[in-house]
Amino acid sequence: MVETRNISFGGLLFHVELPAFEHLTAYLAELKDVLADTEGADEIVQEVEHRLAELFQQALNEVNRAVTLDDVSNACTQLGDPSEFKGDDATEAGGTTTRDEQKEKGQGRKYRRLFRDPDDNVFGGVAAGIAHRLDIDPVIVRTIFFVLGVFSGTGIPVYLVLWAVMPKARTAADRLSMKGDPVTVDSIRSTVEEQLKQAREKLENPYVKSGFTRFKLFIRRLFTQNLPALLRGLGKVLMWLLIISALVALLSIGAVILSVLFGGVWNPFV
């Protein structure tokens, strides 16, 4: 089962499976980007949309009523990579360099956005999300939540708050920016394919990757994890925890001041 989107494309109505929709969106976005300096860009994009719609129409029949990822990637392959649309005149050489430079710059930054990772979760994917953001092993983050949860009890409320606050990585573009990968047609295609593979595995073997099994695996790995990596990551996470606990401390000081000011009976430290 795959979710679909209804789109009006090239003047026709299509049911497009979600991964296919993402691929198509990325393709058109990159095409528009490539054609930004070309005259008549809108017209070219419109013509390409018509042609893609025609190819989709040919791929559909009585049995296959929804446009699949294969349909989209076949059609896009036939039309060619967006870079093939690049100016057909002398400005071409200059255009190539700037685009490559842009790409390099984008990779140099490698900014990672904070999302909950639904593909590598024990509960809400909070720990995996934080691990992606800091570029460390999720096991380290889980260890800290686990230790804090068992010995002080702060791990659980902090986890729940983060679960509520952090957005879940829903689309392929979310997943890429979570890991700091550039969002391009190719990267979206491979992410979408990876997701499909995972979904298929889950369907065939539903118990292998359940949250509880992951939890058990995590406990086992906790004791086999090699120490240097753990310590390196711990430093990073401790810094974050310090920031968080400083915030919590500030909040509770505020609460104390308020309760003193208003002479209330409630005192968080009693």
């Binding site: 008549g40 013509e47 025609e54 040919q58 100016g87």
Partner: protein, 118 residues
């Protein structure tokens, strides 16, 4: 084919693409993907996408015109044809092409005749 040869061949293809399109359109109007198929069949084009910006530019320059035609298998198709101006341009390009080929071949011929002398 080495990488350098490939790049050079790609440039050559790009250079004659406009002439090739006009030659195809001399036989009457054509749909973009039909032109692409014709060019791909003789290895003059890699992907369809390259044609779209070129055709739009030629249309805006007044070399080509187009009409919308209903299609049984999807959205309406844009059929391109040559304008009167396009015919003049084709004539010019044909003579330029002939001269180009002759020039390039003459280098080979003169090189061979020099070899014979030596």
């Amino acid at each position: 084919m080495t990488k350098a040869t490939q790049a050079s061949t790609a440039q050559m293809r790009k250079g004659v693409l406009e002439l090739c399109i006009l030659r195809i359109l001399r036989n009457g109007e054509a749909y973009t993907s039909d032109m692409a198929a014709a060019l791909q069949a003789v290895d003059l084009l890699v992907v369809e996408g390259t044609l779209y910006p070129l055709l739009t530019r030629m249309k805006n320059a007044g070399t080509l015109s187009y009409r919308w035609a209903e299609s049984a298998s999807g959205p309406p198709r844009k059929y391109y044809s040559m304008t009167r101006e396009g015919e003049n341009i084709l004539d010019e390009m044909e003579s330029a092409w002939t001269q180009f080929v002759e020039s390039v071949n003459s280098l080979d011929a003169s090189a061979q005749s020099q070899k014979k002398k030596n």
